[in-house]
């Protein structure tokens, strides 16, 4: 097994870049919608065969065991090449939690299968009445003999129809205070009583689902971590995820399209447009400076604090404004569905706009992020 951390940064970067350029399927570069499993299966298998599917996992569990600096290089090279995210929540989310909180039997069963793609995970957190206020969730699991019996529903479950398994937050003690009566369960999607309703988003794609649980019976060993301690398990995730979400490379596609369209149409000669364009371009570049500061922190081995919330707010809100100007730059063509030819530049105006909309909603809405910053960073009273 290669110790990638012993490699020089530039050697490692070259190796990652070479691999993604050689092996990543070109039609899937810079796609905007979430990639589906049937599209990504081949790429997943190649990564898995090379031992590269789980850069963040320890080597003894089949990961690459990358340190923070190498991890960032890995992410940067994937983003640079426009690699789509496969249904990777098993790798990025629940896998590390199983590693940390799981029993030996859970580790032995789930970890290899998650790496191979046999287990594809989706996340069952949000509910119709528990969005930003996640801790008010009502989906309940009651112990009957050796089983949990689950009833309730989850929503905004991305790629649930691709998933073989779901990790769930459920209420297991109704008398306890909000966060304290919640447990974390690992559930096979084939369990009787689970039904799906795909939800079509504004872009016209069925990326997420509503998931219904009617007397779904799962064994007691579906519990990850301690009973009624699921909130602690779920919260253990957040740091690196928020750094990834705030990556300034995310709005790059829209920025490049906007610049190409602006040149093709001569819009940069219009001082009004040029002023708005350069202000947005600088918002992206200056956000990258902020990102760089958090990256340095991660590289020094320091934990990310609550202040990282500002990165998601800045990047996502800038991305949205960028896609708004892209629509405006397209004029009438900006609202025609599908790719448009603008003076020889092939551009999809609407998709970037649509896909930037939920960016300020998922993963903690901009308003929740602002609440976090007000409370923990500015220490304003509640």
């Amino acid at each position: 097994m290669t110790d990638y951390n012993a490699m020089g940064d530039e050697d490692f970067r070259r190796e990652v870049r070479g691999f993604v350029e050689r092996e990543y399927p070109p039609p899937l570069r810079f796609i905007l919608q979430r990639a589906r499993w049937h599209e990504m299966k081949g790429w997943w298998t190649k990564l898995h065969a090379r031992g590269w599917i789980a850069p963040n996992w320890p080597r003894e569990h089949g990961g690459m065991g990358l340190d923070a600096g190498k991890m960032l290089i890995y992410m940067e090279e994937f983003e640079r090449h426009g690699c789509a995210r496969p249904p990777d929540q098993g790798i990025t989310q629940v896998g590390p939690l199983i590693l940390r909180f799981g029993t030996q039997a859970q580790k032995d069963y789930y970890l290899p299968r998650t790496l191979s793609g046999e287990c594809i995970w989706c996340q069952g957190y949000s509910e119709p009445n528990a969005g930003s206020d996640l801790a008010s969730l009502q989906t309940a699991a009651v112990i009957e003999g050796e089983q949990f019996v689950i009833n309730g529903q989850k929503i905004w479950t991305s790629l649930a129809d691709d998933a073989t398994h779901i990790y769930l937050l459920v209420r297991t003690d109704k008398s306890a205070k909000k966060q304290q009566g919640i447990s974390f369960l690992l559930v096979d999607m084939k369990t009787p009583g689970i039904t799906l309703r795909p939800i079509v988003n504004l872009a016209g794609h069925g990326e997420f689902c509503q998931v219904f649980f009617d007397d779904v019976r799962v064994p007691r060993d579906a519990l990850l971590g301690q009973m009624n301690d699921g909130w602690t398990v779920a919260k253990a995730l957040l740091g690196f995820e928020r750094l990834g979400i705030g990556s300034p490379r995310r709005p790059q596609y829209a920025l490049r399209r906007l610049e190409a369209v602006a040149r093709a149409k001569g819009l940069l000669d219009d001082p009004g447009f040029a002023d708005r364009f350069i202000a947005l371009k600088l918002d992206i570049e200056d956000g990258a400076a902020l990102y760089g500061r958090f990256v340095e922190q991660v590289k020094r081995g320091e934990a990310l604090g609550q202040d990282v919330s500002m990165l998601k707010i800045w990047t996502m809100e800038t991305w949205q404004r960028l896609t708004e100007l892209l629509i405006e730059a397209g004029a009438e063509q900006g609202v025609i569905a599908g790719a448009q030819d603008v003076a020889g530049v092939e551009t999809d105006f609407l998709s970037p706009f649509y896909y930037s909309r939920p960016a300020t909603i998922y993963g903690g809405s901009s308003e929740i992020q602002r609440n976090i910053l007000a409370k923990y960073v500015l220490k304003l009273p509640s």
């Binding site: 001082p271 500015l378 304003l380």
Partner: protein, 384 residues
């Protein structure tokens, strides 16, 4: 622990000296007293700043300075800006000093740079002539060859720190090339008038009528002269950005403190989400500006070529100007009525941010120059 690098050591000492000075060497009463006066600032305080080494941060060691970089200068400028001290640190110790350092009249440099660093002589760079015109290359001031030197005619405007300046470093057109000339304040034919700025400091207008400049006072000519003014302009913008960072930081501290203590409807107003979110947005703008400032100073200290340098300077000035203006304007709003009074300090920060933002090019101007340099967009008003 690894040994501190020389620059880390300098940074720690400079940060300490500026914190000490902020605590004991200046206060807001002094700032208020000097507002709108003909003196504008205090030469005794200026001398203290020299003794602390601040005025020589950018002056090479062989000319009596510390020979450090912009990152070090920014520590002083930012810390000092928090106090609103009116002394023209950026105007004299960056803008004028850099123009002189980058000139090639060795004798003049050997005589004047040590005096500048020691606070004995305070020069001001007189290069601009019309509002919003920031192209160094084509001044209207004319230098006509005369007895081995020049006869100088024209008017310079918006000169920072000029009230008690001892000399002016004046750019002028000599035929088809640029010259940079050293003009003592007492030179016959030179007349200075002051215009009071929003923050109580002043811009000087320098009228030059048949001012005779001996050959020994020609600081630089031609390409060297133009490059000296351009370098000074870019570096002064970066340090003005550091000043803006200090201003916004202090204003936001005041605002957040006020939100925590001001009670209305029986609660501290900082518990209201509408105000919390506004404060958070200001904090984010401050942090983005701080990140860009840090990145830009490090990049400038690596000595990029003129084009890259101009882009970096414009980027950081635009970001810090916009952030400081936003924060200081909202400082007034978030304080309510008290924020609109002269007796409360919030307005002083707003006014300093406004004058710093307007000086050496505002945010829109700098973004256009940045676009010119990086995107190749055709934007009016940008220097090439």
């Amino acid at each position: 622990m690894p040994a501190m690098t020389v620059s880390t050591e300098h940074r720690v000492l400079l940060a300490q000296s500026v914190a000490d000075f902020a605590a004991r060497g200046t206060d807001i009463a002094r700032v208020r007293k000097l507002r709108g006066t003909a003196a504008e600032y205090d030469r005794a305080v200026w001398k203290q700043m020299a003794d602390l080494g601040w005025l020589g941060v950018l002056v090479p060691e062989q000319y009596g300075g510390l020979g450090l970089g912009l990152a070090e200068m920014a520590i002083v400028a930012k810390g000092l800006a928090r106090t609103l001290a009116p002394e023209p640190l950026t105007g004299a110790a960056v803008l004028a000093a850099t123009a002189l350092v980058a000139s090639d009249n060795e004798a003049l440099k050997r005589r004047e740079l040590p005096r500048l660093a020691a606070g004995e002589s305070l020069p001001a760079l007189a290069w601009q002539e019309a509002p919003g015109v920031l192209d160094a290359a084509v001044p209207g001031c004319v230098a006509t060859a005369f007895e081995g030197g020049f006869r100088l005619n024209g008017t310079k405007r918006f000169i920072a720190g000029s009230a008690q300046a001892d000399a002016f470093i004046v750019s002028a057109r000599a035929g088809d090339e640029l010259v940079v000339l050293w003009v003592p304040r007492a030179a016959a034919g030179a007349r200075l008038e002051l215009e009071t700025l929003a923050d109580g400091r002043a811009f000087g207008t320098l009228e030059l009528k048949d001012v005779l400049v001996p050959g020994t006072h020609v600081a630089a000519k031609g390409r060297t002269a133009a490059a000296a003014v351009e370098l000074a302009f870019d570096h002064a913008n970066a340090i003005a950005a550091a000043e803006l960072a200090g201003v916004m930081e202090r204003a936001l501290e005041m605002t957040v403190d006020y939100l925590k203590t001001r009670v209305q409807f029986g609660k501290p107003i900082g518990s209201f989400q509408a105000l919390q979110h506004r404060a958070v947005d200001l904090h984010i703008h401050q942090e983005v500006a701080g990140a860009v400032l840090g990145e830009s100073l490090a990049a400038l200290d690596r000595g990029p070529d003129a084009r890259a340098r101009a882009a970096i300077a414009s980027r950081v000035k635009a970001r810090c100007a916009d952030a400081a203006l936003k924060i200081t304007r909202e400082t007034i709003q978030l304080h309510g009525g008290i924020g609109f009074t002269d007796e409360y300090d919030a307005g002083l920060y707003l006014k300093r941010a406004m004058t710093l933002a307007a000086w050496l090019g505002g945010a829109t101007w700098h973004r256009r120059r940045y676009a010119d340099l990086t995107v190749g967009a055709k934007a009016d008003g940008g220097a090439r």
